[in-house]
Symmetry: C3
Subunit: 261 residues, 3 copies
């Protein structure tokens, strides 16, 4: 049993209705010494992809044994299964809707499914974040025997698409996320690049705008110009120095972009 | 004296001006080992009813002796009294403007009024959240003698209206809250239903739209359809599967709804 | 070494991308017993002045040795230096862009500059909040020898303007901040007033509207009226009882106001 377990919360609840407060209270009551850390409660309602990206940026930096409780789910209720993902470092508790896609890609992991009917607690089916996920998270932190309600499973939902190679060193990419500053994050990871050889030049076409060179800092181009950078998440990004690339390029999540290396 | 007291904060301050930071700093300075938990700082400015609802969803789940500091108050200054509400489990500190209405309804409680003039600390009248409520909360956590500035009182403001029975098993309800997802929360509590007998069918009229059946989960109706559910707060709610009932029904807080059981 | 160091975070990141989560994870990993307190992550993107004001309202109330990590910076990258400001009570870590202007004005302080090239950690230049500022903050909390990468410096950026005296007891002031409630904060501090003598009457002109009397609480004027108050930050404010002065007076940050004492 962990003496001061760390719980990191990620939801699309906002805070103004008290739903997050209920989760925090429930966890703190189960573990008076728990540390509860907010990752975010301002994920767009039901936006599983945004939550997945947000999680992927945060979780690698957290201490061992941190338990991530992620509640972003369009299909509230019993239809969608709850799962626990265990990696060598962390636990993740949440719905099986792809929100852990980046975790699957990067980490060796074990998957178990939450058998809600076997939980020995009062369950309000409309609020799994409080009654199922927070409860299971608290049990994991306590080192409790969870075998009664966590059953091994092999399949899980993932939405992560690899970049599509269309020619030699030409890729069709997708905007997977637009961040707070309007930076466009693409589904092309630094690791994807390492697998390629003979990369001498980079150039990217987006809506007819040609963007050259993978620079490393904003400071190296004039204010207002676009550039390609490797983001802190390891993904290629289109950014605009002192501005929003999303606005000037009028791009939405899901749009396609052609990259030539 | 509580070694690691828990303070749960609920304000309409937003965080961008540093007012919440000041409150946190003040509490943490008084109790270096305090745990400060944010319930919300994004309550609509001056919206006492939203704050009351948010609090009612959160407080029951918090550990014993948690001290809730609630600062949502249209009438800043000396006109409105500050109060401390003590229940069997918790303390609540804030203005006497009805923000604790749901607590009064549910919990046995003792009421004391804060005599600001008797506080032995510097008071900036414009910032009672920091100088009065956080201070009193810190004193309560320390187990200090508060008899000098907390005087017993019997009356307190409450805005909670009971559902009005207009015929046998017909009720005029009010939308008391619209949550982050556009769910409409009504002033009809599960406990109100238990007091009735012979309930065989439910049907609700809102702006000519008939909504039938109290279902229990979103998953049981097609996407986009409205349904009645018992919310996690125990109140009856009108929800729309995968959408905002508030938008499709164009309803505001305070609107009336007729329920036939 | 501090056993349970307190880190107070202030950024313009929002929380929805996971960048704040990454900073929290990094600090918590370095100090499993650290207390991380959010001041704000909803500063307007790149708004150094808002961040400075927010910080100035919060920091004085925090316990000794609190480490403030402030990341609001239009010029991300190596161009702008990172600094550490040490006062008798606190540490401040962030970019040298004026965000600590109010701290300089109020507190005796020592200034050191972060030599990024000398840090013994992996640095992603695009995310100094996580890789430079959080790292340095963690080192300070650990009482580590920082002499290798913190070099004393004397100059630092500050934007704080004093009120301009245009005649005897007449001042040209500037709106330095508009808060969550629409209150207009002016660059005229209580201390500025103390330096004047023979103040018998106050009157302020703003866009032709004359505002008289420095009152102390909202409760003393009718709803909807404007008044001058000393804000909780010590600065003179134009407020509107139960409303937004910013809206009715249509004022922006940076506008000028004439004060006659």
């Amino acid at each position: 049993m962990n003496k001061s377990p760390i719980f990191a919360l990620l939801t699309d609840f906002g805070t103004e209705d008290g739903y997050v407060g209920a989760m925090k209270g429930r966890i703190q009551s189960a573990h008076p010494s728990a540390k509860i850390i907010d990752i975010s409660h301002s994920i767009q309602a039901f936006d599983v992809r945004q939550a997945a990206f947000c999680l992927s940026n945060s979780y690698p930096f957290f201490p061992e044994k941190t338990i991530f409780v992620v509640v972003v789910d369009p299909g509230v209720g019993p239809a969608r299964n709850g799962i626990v993902v265990k990696t060598s470092q962390h636990y993740f508790v949440g719905p099986d809707n792809g929100v852990f896609s980046y975790v699957y890609r990067r980490e060796g992991h074990q998957l178990t499914e939450i058998q809600v009917d076997s939980l020995e607690t009062h369950i309000s089916p409309a609020f799994r974040g409080r009654d199922v996920f927070s409860y299971v998270a608290a049990m994991l932190a306590a080192g409790a025997d969870t075998s009664q309600y966590l059953s091994p499973t092999k399949s899980s939902v993932s939405f992560l698409k690899s970049p599509a190679e269309i020619n030699e060193n030409e890729f069709l990419l997708e905007v997977i996320h637009i961040d707070h500053f309007g930076n466009l994050i693409l589904n092309f990871h630094k690791n994807d690049l390492m697998n390629l050889k003979n990369v001498t030049d980079e150039s990217l076409d987006i809506k007819g705008v040609k963007i050259r060179d993978i620079n490393i800092t904003f400071g190296e181009v004039p204010e207002g110009e676009h550039l390609l950078v490797w983001g802190t998440s390891g993904f290629l990004q289109i950014v605009r120095n002192m501005g929003s690339a999303a606005k000037t390029l009028a791009v939405q999540t899901g749009e396609q972009v052609q990259l030539t290396l």
